[in-house]
Amino acid sequence: MIFGDLFHLALENLWRTKLRSVLTTLGVVIGVGMLVSMISFATGIQRNVTESFKANDLFTTMEVVGRGAEPGSALSEVVQGSKDERVIDDAVLDSVRALPGVELAYPEVRFPATVRLGGKEARTTIQGVPLALGRYRPFDEFRYGRFFTSEDERAAVVSERLLSELGVRLADEEASGKWRRSPPEGTAVVPADSILGRDIEIVVPVLDGSRLAQGFLTGRFDAPFREEVTRLAVVGIRTEQGGFEMGSFASGVAIPEGTARSIPHFEFSNVWQALDATRGAAGYPALNVRVRTADDLGPTRDAVEAMGCNVVALADQLEEFKRSFLIIDALLGAIGVVALVIAGLGIVNTMVTSILERTREIGVMKAVGGSEGDIMRIFFVEAGAIGAAGGVFGVILGWSVTRLGNVVVNHYLRPEGFPPEDLFDMPPWLVAGAIGFSIVVTLIAGSYPALRAARVDPVTALRHE
C-alpha cells in the first residue's frame, strides 16, 4: 500500500471520530504551543542581548583602567596595604593608540551635574566625547540637529529622555505615538527646532575656598560649595530608535571633550571613586578604547594588560550570558517537552481505544490482504497526522502567544518612553524543529498502539462484535 493510500485512510479514520481526534490534537497543540513560546522567549532574549551588544559596539570596545584603580581599590588598599599601581596617563594613552588593532582611544571624561532648561532641572551625567566619535554610533546620525564641529565648541547633545525629565517633549515624536501615556502636567510639547540652539545650563558643585575658610572661623561647614554654571547651546537631540541601548550615551548630555575639561568638576561620581581620588595620583580615571574588529579585542587586551593596566570589556559578559541562556533554554524547553509528553500519553490512550473499536475492521483488512506492516503503517500515519496537525497549529498558537506577550509588555513599556520591544524570536529552525519534534513524539506515542493493531489475530478480530 502506497503512502498516499495510507495517508488517505488515516485521514478518513480520524475524520470518522472527529471530536476525539480534535481533542487529542488539541493536547499536542497546547504542548507544542508551550514549547514554541518558551523557546521563542529564550531565543528572543538572547537575540536582543547579542544585537544590543553589536548595536552598541560592545564587541569592539573596552575600558582600560589603572591597576589598583578598580572601584573600591582605595578601601582595599587601606585594609590590605599599598600595592603596585599603574596610573593611566598620556604615556599609556599614546602606547594604547599605537597598538595595531586600536582604531580610537580617548580618556574618560565624565561627571555628574544638574542640567537646567526653561526653569526646570534634572540630575544627569555629563560625558566629554572626542570629535572622532562622530563617526560612530550613536553620534553618526541625528534625527534632530548635528554632532559637534570642534573639540571646544560650546555645544551639547542632549537625549530625548533627559528633555522629558526637563518637561519637554518633541512634537514629532509625540505625534508618532511612541509615548502612549499623555505628557505629565506642565510638560511642553514643542517642535525640535525650538530646542535646537537654545542654551542649557550645566551646574556642577565646586569647593568654595572663601566659604571653607569661613567655616573654619565659624565652625559651620554646612555649605562649603558654590555652583559653577556653564551655558552650552543644544546642537543635537538623540532619540531612541528601538532596541535597548547600553553604555553611558543612552541618556544624559554629551559635550566636546575639550569643553568638558574646561568645566571644573570632581572626578568622581560615587564614594569609592572619591576615596580613590584622594590618593592624588595624576592621570585619567579610564581610557575608552575602540578596536577595528571584534577579533582585535583579544590581542589588544593582552597588549594593554602587558602594560600593567586592567581591561574591562563587556564582550566578556556575553559568554557568561550565553551560558545562562543555555540553562534558561533547557529549563523552558523542558517544560514544553513535559507538556508534549503528556499529550503523547493522550495519543496512546486515544489510539488504544480506537484499536478496540476497530478490531473487526483490522480483521477485515487482514482478510483482504493487509499485512502487519500495512496495519502498523496506517496507525503510524494516523499518529503522525495528529503530530503534524498538532505541530502546525501548535506553532501558530505559540506564535500568537508571543505576539500577545509583546503587546502586553509594550503596553507597559511605551508609556515609560521605552521603544517597542520584540521579546520573542521565532527563527525557521524553531518552527521546523517544533513540527518535527511533535511528529516524532506522536510517532513514538503511536508505536505501541500500532504494534498492537498489527498483531491482532485476524480470526479473533473477524469474530469481534
Binding site: 500500500m1 485512510l9 475492521e361 483488512m365 482478510a367 483482504v368 499485512s371 506492516g373
Partner: protein, 232 residues
C-alpha cells in the same frame, strides 16, 4: 493439483486446556473445481477454511497451494497469500460499514498495489459483474443482504485470486437470495474457471453446483460425494 491438504491438524489451546478441532484432514482440489464442504456446526468447517485462507496456522500437517506450503510461511507470506492467491467471502459479509460499495472493493485493490488510477474502473467492473452497477455509492447499511454479499464477492475477486473461499455465503440470506448467490458462484466457476471452496449447510444447493462434496464430522472427512449433475 492447485490445493493439496495432507494430514491437517488443528488444536486450540487455552491455558492447560487443549481442544482438538481437526484430526488429520487430507484432500486435494484441482484447478477449476467447485468443492463444497458440509457438516454440522462444530465439525471444523470454518477452521479448515481459515487455515486454507491463511487466516490461521495449523498445528500439524501441510497445506500446499500452488506448491507453496502455508504451514511454513511467515506472517508476511500469509498476508501475500490472502492478497493474491485466495479471496475470502464470509457469512456476515464483513464489509467496512463506513465505506461505500466501491470503496470496499478499492481498499482490497489498494492492498494489492493496483495503481490508484486503475482502481475505480476495476472496482466498478467487478461490481457490475456481480450485478451491482447501480449500487456503487451505497454504504453496506443501504444494501440488502444479497447485495452486501455480492459486494463481498466482488471484493474477494479484486486481486484476481486462484481460489475463492466462501464460508457459508448464504447463511444469512433467504432462500431466493441464496439461490442468486449460489448461481453467481457457479457462474464464476464455470465462466471464469475460478476454483471455489464453499462451506455450506445447504446440501441440496451444494449437490447442484459442486464437482465434489466433502462431509466433515468431528474434524475428519467422513464422506466424499461426486454429484452426478454437479460441476461443469
Amino acid at each position: 493439483m492447485l490445493l493439496c491438504i495432507t494430514d491437517l491438524r488443528k488444536t486450540y489451546t487455552r491455558g492447560t486446556v487443549h481442544v482438538p478441532v481437526l484430526h488429520g484432514v487430507t484432500f486435494d482440489v484441482a484447478d477449476g473445481e467447485y468443492i463444497s464442504i458440509v457438516g454440522r456446526s462444530g465439525s471444523g468447517k470454518s477452521t479448515l477454511l481459515n487455515l486454507i485462507g491463511g487466516l490461521d496456522t495449523p498445528t500439524g500437517g501441510n497445506i500446499l497451494v500452488g506448491g507453496s506450503d502455508l504451514a511454513r510461511m511467515t506472517r508476511q507470506g500469509l498476508a501475500l497469500h490472502r492478497r493474491h492467491t485466495v479471496g475470502i467471502v464470509f457469512q456476515s459479509w464483513n464489509l467496512l460499514p463506513s465505506r461505500t460499495a466501491i470503496e470496499n472493493v478499492t481498499i482490497a485493490l489498494a492492498f494489492g498495489n493496483v495503481p490508484r488510477r486503475d482502481r475505480g474502473r476495476r472496482a466498478a467492473e467487478l461490481l457490475s459483474s456481480v450485478g451491482l452497477e447501480h449500487r456503487l455509492s451505497h454504504r453496506p447499511a443501504e444494501l440488502s443482504g444479497g447485495e452486501a454479499q455480492r459486494v463481498a464477492i466482488a471484493r474477494a475477486l479484486a486481486n484476481r485470486p486462484r481460489v475463492l473461499l466462501a464460508d457459508e455465503p448464504t447463511g444469512n440470506l433467504d432462500s431466493a437470495t441464496s439461490d442468486g448467490i449460489i448461481e453467481l458462484l457457479r457462474r464464476l466457476n464455470r465462466e471464469q474457471g475460478l476454483t471455489v471452496v464453499m462451506i455450506t449447510h445447504d446440501e441440496p444447493a451444494a449437490r447442484e453446483v459442486s464437482t465434489r462434496m466433502l462431509r466433515l464430522h468431528d474434524g475428519r472427512i467422513v464422506d466424499e460425494i461426486r454429484p452426478a449433475q454437479g460441476g461443469s
